[in-house]
Amino acid sequence: MLNYFNQNKILLIINRLRKYIFAMFLTVLLVGLFEALVLSPEDYKQSDSARIMYVHVPSAWISLGIFSLISILSFGIFIFKNKNFALITKSLAPSGFLFNIIALVTGSIWGKPTWGTWWAWDARITSMLLLAIFYLMFILSWRIFDNNEKAIKVSSIVAIIGFINVPIVKFSVDWWSTLHQPASVNLLKDTTIHSSMLVPLFIMTAAFALFSLLIFLMKYNTELIKIKNKGLDRL
């Protein structure tokens, strides 16, 4: 299975796929924006402010998903001793962090017209802020430590500890009484959003996922070239 993480194979695939993914991302994003801003109906309670959901919710989903993936791969680094996993986690972090910040900022903007405040220290918002801090610590650990081995170890520990926060983010709205509304889209229970709003939400999620993939591939490519640059010095 680990052969799939062969750097040279990945480098070839990346360079072939990148432009197609970029074109797909732009197309899906344009369709998503048109659906979200023009075609989708206003909410009966929150009126047009509910349209913020189309950038807020996918960002929160993807930032949480990426951190979970980083944490699982960090476990893999300790178990399989595969340094490629470290390269993958390092390349995933920038887009995950950006989506975390987008979720926090757009959530804050959405909070003003619906709750009457930009910020509240409720469980969901605070745990999302904690997630951003874990992302920041993960990214900084790669910048602070010059020694690659140390950076891999510290960043992996940060990701594994941060994984404790993931279920807290997910279930905070069920465990505590929060200002933040409970999940409206459920895999196991009935979804409480009408399809006219669910479709744009999924299209925007697809666009954001494609953007994450694009950034991941470009960052991974950069990291591989960095390694090969060091290799040329040693020739």
Binding site: I52, I102, N221, T222, I225, K228, N229
Partner: protein, 77 residues
Amino acid sequence: MINEILFMNGYGVYVWSSFIFTLSGFFILYSVIKLQLIKEQKKFNAKYENLSSEKFELAKKQKTYRELLPNTSISKI
């Protein structure tokens, strides 16, 4: 129609600022990562061009460099 989309029943400023913040974030991150990639590729090209003929032959034999070079502007291989 255009007014409706712009003002959104008084929520336009919140909705548009959220979308503009998101798209600006995309643009900034994409630009930063793209610049980093170009910088590393340029560094690689410069190093590769300055290799002695001995080291050049050595690099040519290595699979990793053969696969990297078609993606750069160097056409030695």
